[in-house]
């Protein structure tokens, strides 16, 4: 068997040009697969399930967890009067006049925001009751983008805010700047209004319920999930490209393998005559296919890693950092191995149907 594999690989080296082109095709397929997986992972990580079981009270038909909701403080009183144990107000909006200087802003109630927001302080400290006006804590991604660290000042709509600390949540929230609720109200011209109330899911109000005056109750995290769903039609089409390339790779591989075996049909027939079994042909074809697809996978993975190392995607003040997870990488390898297997089946079946005597007479 080793002799067949050696013969197969030597033959591959002799006709390296079509194999190189073929490896390029597999690499392109792998690159699209890993690229798509990388973006899907990044979006899932950023906007997927948030670690909260709370409910959000927001303006109906708005995406209050990002922006666009505005509620009067009376709504909070009404919620408490209904028996809700806590209603913590927040402002969600953004500042900036173009996509390049956009900053996602969150106004927080300094007394209670830590009850409903989990984060890890990376540098400096968290905002706390009694802090001076115009202080902020910012997510590490925003700090990275603006090159800021605790003790420095940042500008929000022309006003200077002192950065007290940087935090990490592991989600899109790491792109946000948090300031005191009163500061946000003054900065954004909200008056006494807020954007949302965060309430516990105690069974008094449920997702889908509405309150008079155009107020809706939704599950916390639904807004970010809805936003990320916008990408699904795009991903479906990219998936289509990947599938088409996968099919093309299988068919082209089958074609290349068959033609290579055809060129050497006499030598292969002689091997059969001197005692090699019919499966020797499968080994001959599969060893070429596997080497080729694995070279393609290595090329594709390296190209994707290179692409991801300098490619970050800004999306309305949020930066997506796609990466190759172990799971995606293994799936890519598995699919490429599948290409090798499927690509081998057809020429092996076809070739085994040919008459041995005819193959020997072929020269």
């Amino acid at each position: 068997m080793l002799a067949i594999i050696r013969f197969s690989l030597q033959d591959m080296l002799r006709h390296y040009k079509p194999w190189l082109a073929m490896a390029g095709l597999v690499a392109a397929t792998n690159l699209i697969f890993l690229g798509l997986g990388g973006y899907r992972n990044a979006i899932q990580q950023e906007f997927g399930k948030l670690p909260y079981d709370d409910l959000i009270v927001q303006e109906s038909n708005s995406n209050g967890e990002f922006f666009g909701s505005r509620l009067s403080p009376e709504i909070g009183d009404r919620l408490l009067a209904m028996g809700i144990s806590r209603a913590i107000p927040e402002i969600h909006d953004y500042t900036g006049t173009s996509i390049t200087n956009i900053i996602i802003l969150r106004g927080i109630d300094l007394e209670r925001y830590q009850e409903v927001n989990f984060f890890k302080i990376l540098a400096g400290r968290a905002l706390q009751p009694g802090d001076a006006r115009r202080t902020a804590m910012i997510g590490w991604r925003l700090a990275d983008r603006l090159n800021l660290s605790p003790g420095q000042e940042m500008t929000l709509r022309g006003r200077q805010f002192l950065v007290m600390g940087t935090f990490q949540t592991g989600t899109y929230v790491d792109n946000e700047a948090w300031i005191a609720l009163e500061d946000a109200q003054a900065l954004l011209g909200y008056g006494k209004d807020i954007s949302i109330y965060i309430i516990p899911d105690e069974g008094i109000l449920n997702p889908g319920d509405t309150l008079p005056g155009g107020v809706a109750i939704v599950k916390r995290g639904r807004g970010p999930q809805t936003s990320s769903n916008q990408f699904e039609p795009l991903f479906r089409i990219i998936e289509l490209i990947y599938n088409a390339l996968g099919i093309a790779a299988i068919l082209t591989l089958a074609n290349v393998l068959f033609r290579m075996a055809w060129i050497h049909r006499r030598e292969l027939a002689i091997l059969r005559c001197v005692g090699f079994r019919a499966c020797a042909l499968v080994v001959y074809l599969l060893s070429q296919a596997l080497v080729l697809t694995w070279v393609g996978v290595i090329l594709g993975t390296l190209s994707t890693a290179l692409l991801f190392s300098f490619l970050s995607t800004d999306l309305v003040g949020m930066t997506l950092h796609p990466s190759i997870s172990l799971h995606t990488g293994m799936a890519g390898l598995g699919q490429s191995t599948g290409i090798a297997l499927f690509g081998t089946v057809l020429p092996a079946w076809w070739f085994n149907r040919l008459n041995l005597a005819d193959q020997l007479r072929s020269e």
Binding site: G68, N229, P233, I241, A244, L346
Partner: protein
């Protein structure tokens, strides 16, 4: 050689080698489909990334800090002050109308949608809308909807839609001149009630007379000391153009995919054609021995390859047409702007050119390599 003989020989050869000819055609088809799909995606992003010029004569006034018009807030005094500045400079007839617009981005059925409320007479006359079906809104609870919003949400004229607790009746289907957006339009009075607003709105619109140059008026307004501070003036396309920046990075990604697919189409076609040639070295040498010139043989091989590529291209076109038709059910929507996959003549032409060129390259490179060998060597191979 006569064309008919050439053609007959070509078809006979393809038929004789039909199994592998089909395999070659199908693999080429799959490669071309991936290229066309990738190019179509790039086209979608180009559509997102550009705001078409319109014949609109409107200047839009919004708060200068607002990225999304929904963040803007102004009242009638601001709008009238701006109109007065224009009239002072460009004459009393330079402003045809000045009207308010309430603007909201809403989330309906998990998708973003724009909602605009404009005084009824301006809605019918000055909003660059074409009524395709039904009637203009007659009351506060009537709305007209762009065909993109109708399609996305499965609505039809006569349906009632629940927004902020109000059951609004769809009375008409409209098309916006500027772009394919998912939007609902209603009367200003209706918008005030729906969103519970009194005197403030998001966009002030000045309709400027045809005799004036719109950009000159815009520049003057921005510099005039009497123009209220804290506000900015935009042309229609400028205001919405800022949304298109949102997909800027995705545009790069889409172009990368298209470039990758172009590479794949070149590699795939080259592979298929060069292998056919490599496998037939001996037959080609025999043909040369019995008197065929290398030019005739090259022409024959080129014809064979082009025929396969042409059939593959037509198949790929058909497959893509089906995909495009099906994708209409799942349009790509970013921030209420809608785009669907489509196969433009440019994409098809470029795709055709690329596949044919790479097929020719495959034949040429292999033929060149073979011609460097002596006839005897070719026969011995």
């Amino acid at each position: 050689m006569k064309f008919s003989v050439f053609g007959a020989y070509l078809f006979k050869d393809l038929f004789f080698d039909r199994g592998r000819s089909f395999l070659t055609i199908f693999s080429l088809t799959a490669v071309i489909v991936s290229y066309l799909a990738a190019s179509a995606i790039s086209d979608v992003f180009l559509e997102f990334g550009s705001q078409p010029q319109t014949g609109s004569r409107n200047l839009l006034i919004v708060s200068d800090y607002a990225l999304d018009p929904m963040q803007s807030k102004l009242d009638d005094s601001i709008l009238q002050a701006a109109a007065e500045v224009v009239r002072q400079e460009f004459g009393p007839d330079s402003v045809l109308s000045a009207f308010p617009t309430i603007y909201r981005t809403l989330n309906i059925n998990g998708r973003n949608l724009r909602m605009l409320a404009v005084p009824r007479e301006n809605l019918m006359r000055d909003s660059s809308l074409t009524l395709l079906e039904g009637d203009w809104p007659e009351s506060d609870e009537h709305v007209i909807v762009t065909q993109e919003a109708l399609q996305l949400n499965g609505w039809k004229i006569g349906d009632r839609i629940l927004i902020r607790g109000s059951n609004l009746l769809i009375t008409g289907r409209v098309q916006e001149e500027a772009a394919r957006t998912s939007a609902i339009w209603m009367t200003y009075d209706g918008g005030q009630k729906l969103f519970n607003v009194q005197s403030d709105f998001q966009i002030g619109v000045l309709q400027i007379d045809d005799s004036q140059d719109l950009t000159t008026v815009q520049a003057h307004l921005e510099q005039d000391p009497h123009f209220p501070t804290g506000y900015a003036v935009y042309l229609n396309q400028q205001l919405y153009e800022r949304y298109t920046d949102i997909v800027r990075d995705f545009l790069k990604a889409a172009f990368s995919i298209a470039a990758l697919a172009s590479g794949a189409v070149i590699l795939g076609t080259f592979n298929a054609t060069s292998l056919t040639m490599a496998e037939r070295k001996q037959e080609i040498a025999i043909l040369q021995t019995i008197g065929f010139t290398s030019r005739t043989i090259r022409l024959f091989l080129l014809g064979r390859t082009h025929l396969q590529t042409l059939v593959a291209f037509c198949l790929a076109w058909g497959v893509m047409a089906i995909i495009v038709q099906n994708s209409l059910k799942f349009p790509i929507v970013f921030y209420a702007k809608t785009a669907v996959l489509r196969l433009s003549p440019e994409i098809l032409f470029l795709g055709f050119l690329l596949t044919m060129l790479s097929a020719s390259l495959g034949v040429w490179l292999t033929a060149r390599a073979q011609s460097s060998l002596s006839l005897a060597d070719q026969l011995r191979e």
